[in-house]
Amino acid sequence: MGHLIELKDLYKIYQMGDSEVRALDGVSLTIDRGEFVAIVGQSGSGKSTAMNIIGCLDVPTSGSYHLNGIDVSTMDDDQQAEIRNKMLGFIFQQYNLIPKLNVLENVELPLLYAGLPNADRRDAAMEALHRVGLADKYKHLPSQLSGGQQQRVSIARALAGAPSVILADEPTGALDSRTGREVLGFLQKLNHEGNTVVLITHDNSIAVKAQRIVRLQDGHIIYDGDSSDPAAVVQPNEDAEDTDVGFGDQEEKAVMP
């Protein structure tokens, strides 16, 4: 069996008027099953672009991306939707629950699009809610839950479809430090249970919870190694902020724990 995620020579180039912006400038990266990887970088480093491509929300300008051995870099909208549905589970900074649906319906959504019959869908969703300890709140609306609980619902939603990769984009960004730690602990637990977790963050203190850190700057990988290595948390030159690429700047809104 090959690697779970295999990025080869990935470029993502945006045309901004006359100038060309290289959000990803030749990135190659492999992630294996069962890994817990943090992709770290400052604003404009290209980590959001990387996350979008890994999450099959976007396609690279050039280069190849194999997920589970399937080339997903040239897929169209609907094919990508199917890959997202079957292989990926997203956890977002803003939870991204649908406010009009109750907790159970939210968790059921990916299964709904997978075409599961009613009863199976309900069972799988309830089981995922059990795993995050919110089974008793399945009838609540997201607005009736705390931020930490909402994030756990979104984790349940990511788990419900038994994806190959759990992709967490600044999952603690909107939480206070205590709930943030809880959520991170949960991701570690999922990883111990054998799930592959990819965490995207700008925050070293969060990144070190992963086993492996991949640091991006200006579209290049400048570090890739074990999180226990002191070099992993060395902040590159602070001026990196000035070369703002202008894409994928969700992290600017992040609240530093």
Binding site: D78, R84, K86, L112
Partner: protein, 400 residues
């Protein structure tokens, strides 16, 4: 795509903003209600016309002579010519009577009866028309032949002028005293100006009252409904033989009159329904407008759904179902409103006309109205839904 969830979501979002939902649906509601009212009233009219024709007799053939053809004043048709025609074709024609609308003033004691219609006819009229004698007798050959001053009166006159005991009494018609020899059965509701407010005298007397010696109007009866067309041809041939000009007379069967009325009614209804349908179109545009707003408002939701694996057709389906649900509910409200309005309007018209008039929609009309409103929702929901389905998930997720 899961239909039930989309449907429930649609109901939910309609319920969370009731005012907006109502305004969105208003165009559809008004359009559907208007169509239902128009169709209901049309049906009521149709029924009324049908029953009136039924009363008149569906075998009836009216003959009207308007002139003489050219300048040959010698050309004329007499009642005897018409009787001869009936005798010659008994398989098609069962009877004929002259039918003269007399210009006469009816007076009984000191009371004038201005509304009363005075007709002149022959003894055959009872076989041709639908009048039936309740008491006494109808006119007879001898009355017609000798211009006797006798008359048969409708039930209204009998009640109003003679308190129900008119037989043998005298009534003044344009100054001459006429003896009441018969009273007709009630045909309508025995009120002034109704079918029962009438009086029959020998046509010879009626022609004299009108100051003419010609009879220009006849009522034939065909042996049955199917023979009417052939009978009409026979009468026309006879008239053409005399007048040499088909423009001076008119032969119309009851069926033709009914057809002509129906055609007119249908044309009128089609025009009215088409006008009402414009409101449906406007309603559809209203739905499209609100759906476009809704797509923008829910960009983030669309992004979330797409990130979880919703395909284009899933998103499109969701918004189309929502638009269809909105217009379907609008359609149902419109049908309800339309039926209520039709019942109310039918009651008012019924009171005005003093007859049994009931406005009622047909199941087909309700079904079509409902179907059209759902169709409009789907049609006008398609554009916004398609727009939603094409949103880029990254942009949609980042949308606030």
């Amino acid at each position: 795509m899961n239909f039930t969830q989309s449907f429930r979501l649609a109901i939910k979002s309609l319920l969370t903003s009731k005012m907006r939902a109502l305004l969105t649906m208003l165009g559809i509601i008004i359009g559907v209600a208007a169509v239902i009212v128009i169709i209901s009233l049309g049906n009521g009219m149709q029924d009324m016309l049908d029953s009136q024709f039924e009363k008149l007799g569906s075998n009836l053939i009216q003959v009207q002579i308007m002139g003489r053809g050219g300048d040959a004043s010698s050309r004329s048709i007499s009642p005897d010519d018409m009787y001869a025609l009936v005798d010659k074709y008994p398989q098609y024609l069962s009877g004929v009577s002259p039918y003269v609308n007399a210009q006469a003033a009816v007076r009984c004691g000191t009371e004038d009866y201005d509304q009363t219609s005075v007709y002149g006819c022959s003894e055959n009229f009872v076989n041709v028309g639908t009048a039936t004698v309740a008491s006494g007798r109808f006119l007879q050959y001898i009355d017609v032949e000798r211009l006797q001053n006798v008359c048969v009166i409708g039930s209204y006159l009998n009640q109003a002028a003679f308190k129900g005991d008119g037989l043998g009494k005298t009534i003044q018609i344009t100054g001459s005293p006429y003896t009441v020899i018969g009273i007709l059965e009630e045909n309508g509701d025995s009120t002034e100006g109704s079918d029962d407010d009438c009086l029959y005298i020998p046509y010879t007397n009626a022609a004299r009252l009108n100051g003419t010696s010609h009879v220009n109007f006849y009522l034939f009866s065909a042996t049955d409904r199917n023979a009417a067309a052939t009978a009409k041809g026979i009468i026309e041939n006879r008239l053409l033989k005399t007048f040499q000009d088909s423009d001076v007379y008119m032969v119309v069967t009851a069926a033709e009159m009914m057809d002509a009325m129906n055609t007119m009614m249908n044309t009128m209804m089609t025009v009215l329904v088409a006008i009402a349908a414009i409101s449906l179109l406007v309603g559809g545009i209203g739905i499209m407008n609100i759906m476009l707003v809704s797509v923008t408002e829910r960009t983030r939701e669309i992004g979330i759904r797409k990130s979880l694996g919703a395909k284009r057709r899933d998103i499109r389906g969701q918004f189309i179902i929502e638009a269809g649900t909105t217009s379907a509910i609008g359609g149902m409200l419109g049908i309800g409103l339309g039926v209520l309005l039709a019942i109310a309007a039918g009651g008012v018209i019924g009171n005005m006309m003093g007859e049994g008039f009931s406005a009622h929609p047909t199941i087909t009309a309700v079904g079509v109205a409902f179907g059209v409103s759902v169709g409009i929702g789907i049609l006008f929901g398609y554009l916004p839904a398609n727009k939603a389905s094409k949103l880029n998930p990254i942009d949609a997720l980042r949308y606030d």
